[in-house]
């Protein structure tokens, strides 16, 4: 049981009358030699680490190592309680948790790279908000994570999820595609709809550059994670409304990879372009004095 492309995955789902998460769980036992229960428990553990990270920042303000971020999740929480957020409860919570996980990440807390540490807020943001707002069980969360990992696997296999190789579209973009697919399966969408939503999410951020201030996973990474979560939820809704994706998932993945490779070196995590090259970012770096030279 294995698949190398989205088309192959959909074929397996159709032939076996199974969901993406079920196929991915079967693949895992086949390729890793792990028992099904072991893989399940490990994924449940991953979910609990995600949940702890997301909630941690809402409870305690955490300052980042580089000092550029900290306290954003608490601010969002206070805003959600006191004001009526424009985005509504679900989307605002998804954003809050995504910001929070990045806060924990940037302050050397425990997170689950999904698919990377820099994009680790997107999936917990979407899944936790959906669990809290719609009451999904932890078992459903495990399924959702297997679904997301199928999409992430296809991106790792056929493109890249590293910002240094493909820019932010490859990191937050991939996480957003994974979360969109998971959200569709949670809502009972078909495997085809999962990949349509994933492809749409990836399309929406195609070309997004990786330009971290000071080379740190803080600005603009943290807010891009919130954007990735919002994009995922919107793409899930678009798809569930019956709106398909013109370009098939596999082709979007390949296009993203091509775009990533053609991004200039300055815009692939080197901190030489984009936000990192603005006068403010340069001044902050010069005044920080913690690094030898930047």
């Amino acid at each position: 049981m294995n698949f190398m492309t989205g088309a192959e995955l959909l074929k397996l789902c159709e032939e076996n009358k199974k969901t993406i998460s079920e196929i991915m769980q079967e693949r895992e036992t086949a390729v890793s030699g792990m028992a099904a229960s072991e893989a399940h428990d490990l994924m449940l553990h991953s979910f609990s680490v995600m949940r702890d990270a997301a909630r941690e920042a809402v409870i305690h303000e955490r300052r980042s190592m580089g000092g550029l971020i900290g306290g954003e999740a608490r601010k969002m929480d206070a805003y959600l309680r006191e004001a009526r957020p424009l985005c509504g409860s679900l989307l605002s919570k998804a954003g809050m948790y995504a910001l929070g996980v990045l806060e924990v990440n940037a302050s050397m807390g425990l997170i689950v790279a999904a698919p990377t540490a820099g994009a680790s807020g997107v999936i917990p943001g979407v899944l936790l908000a959906m669990q809290e707002e719609e009451g999904y069980s932890d078992e459903k969360m495990v399924k959702a994570l297997f679904n997301a990992s199928a999409v992430g696997y296809l991106l790792m296999q056929n493109a890249t999820v590293a910002g240094a190789e493909g820019g932010c579209q490859a990191e937050v973009g991939s996480a957003s595609a994974m979360a969109a697919s998971a959200a569709v399966e949670l809502r009972g969408g078909s495997p085809q709809q999962c990949l349509d939503a994933a492809g749409t999410a990836l399309s929406n951020v195609m070309g997004l550059v990786c330009d971290p201030v000071g080379g740190l996973v803080e600005v603009p990474c943290q807010k891009r994670n919130a954007m990735g979560a919002a994009n995922a939820l919107m793409c899930a809704d678009i798809t569930l409304a019956g709106i398909g994706s013109l370009i098939p998932f596999d082709e979007v993945v390949s296009a993203m990879y091509q775009v990533g490779r053609s991004l200039p070196f300055e815009l692939r995590e080197t901190a030489l372009g984009g936000h990192a090259a603005t006068p403010t970012a340069r001044r902050l770096c010069a005044d920080c004095g913690k690094c030898p030279t930047v």
């Binding site: 294995n2 991915m24 769980q25 693949r27 895992e28 390729v31 890793s32 893989a39 490990l42 994924m43 553990h45 991953s46 680490v49 980042s64 190592m65 580089g66 924990v104 990440n105 940037a106 302050s107 050397m108 807390g109 425990l110 997170i111 689950v112 790279a113 999904a114 698919p115 990377t116 540490a117 820099g118 680790s120 999936i123 994570l145 297997f146 997301a148 990992s149 199928a150 992430g152 696997y153 790792m156 296999q157 999820v161 590293a162 240094a164 190789e165 994974m178 000071g214 080379g215 740190l216 996973v217 803080e218 995590e269 080197t270 901190a271 913690k290 690094c291 030898p292 030279t293 930047v294």
Partner: protein, 222 residues
């Protein structure tokens, strides 16, 4: 290429902020510690490329120190690794080399001094997603990832040594997944990196060490 597992995608569980600059750096130091063995008293890390420029804000220094202490990537003690190393009597220092062009954007030399007066320099690269490789040992090219259970052998480059090593595997009924030999000059030092699907028992090391042309044989597991 190793088959990508669901837990390579949703995972690793790690202390942030960066899979390449934190978790990957830690793995390099873990491998270095495994290669050097016990008794490390002093470590100097020479950082290159992106490591040299951004190590502080990524906690790369803490992660490298944690790796030398043998902590894993999800260990909450990573934040305090420097203090814990001091308490354990290990002197740690960092040097940024921003002049030389590195082999890879995330490169570090781990220069380790042992209590018996010997030293070992290991060069590692962090390639993203927490994955890392050792690419040099004491200046000699090598490739070691620690993803499989690995036997590392430092040997004399002489006839029959490889046959001796593979015989030890056969005699303990172990299957070799991959095997690579590295050497600079004929008849001098050579390094073997042998990866196995199974856990390699100490028995293999004992059998291999019988040959006087074998200097070091170590099992690397992460």
């Amino acid at each position: 290429m190793k088959i990508i597992s669901a837990f390579d995608v949703v995972g690793p569980e790690m202390i942030g902020p960066s899979s390449s600059h934190t978790a990957g750096a830690l793995k390099i130091a873990q491998l270095a510690r495994n290669l050097a063995g016990s008794g490390i008293v002093k470590v100097r890390f020479v950082l290159y490329g992106s490591f040299a420029k951004t190590y502080h804000g990524h906690g790369t220094d803490k992660a490298l120190t944690a790796g030398i202490m043998g902590f894993s990537a999800n260990d909450k003690r990573i934040r305090e690794a420097e203090r814990l190393a001091r308490e354990a009597g290990i002197e740690v220092s960092f040097v940024s080399d921003t002049e030389d062009t590195p082999i890879h954007p995330n490169t570090v030399d781990v220069v380790m001094s042992m209590e018996n007066g010997t030293s070992m320099t290991v060069t590692g690269i962090s390639v993203g997603g927490g994955k890392a490789y050792i690419v040099k040992i004491n200046g000699e090219d090598i490739s070691l990832s620690g993803e499989y259970c690995t036997l590392f052998v430092h040997q004399k480059d002489s006839p029959g040594v490889m046959a001796h090593i593979t015989t030890a595997f056969r005699d303990t009924n172990l299957n070799i997944a991959a095997m690579r030999l590295f050497r600079t000059k004929k008849g001098q030092d050579a390094y073997s990196v042998i990866e196995s699907d199974d856990m390699i028992p100490e028995e293999v090391v004992k059998r291999i060490m019988v040959n006087p042309d074998i200097y070091i044989a170590k099992i690397i597991t992460l």
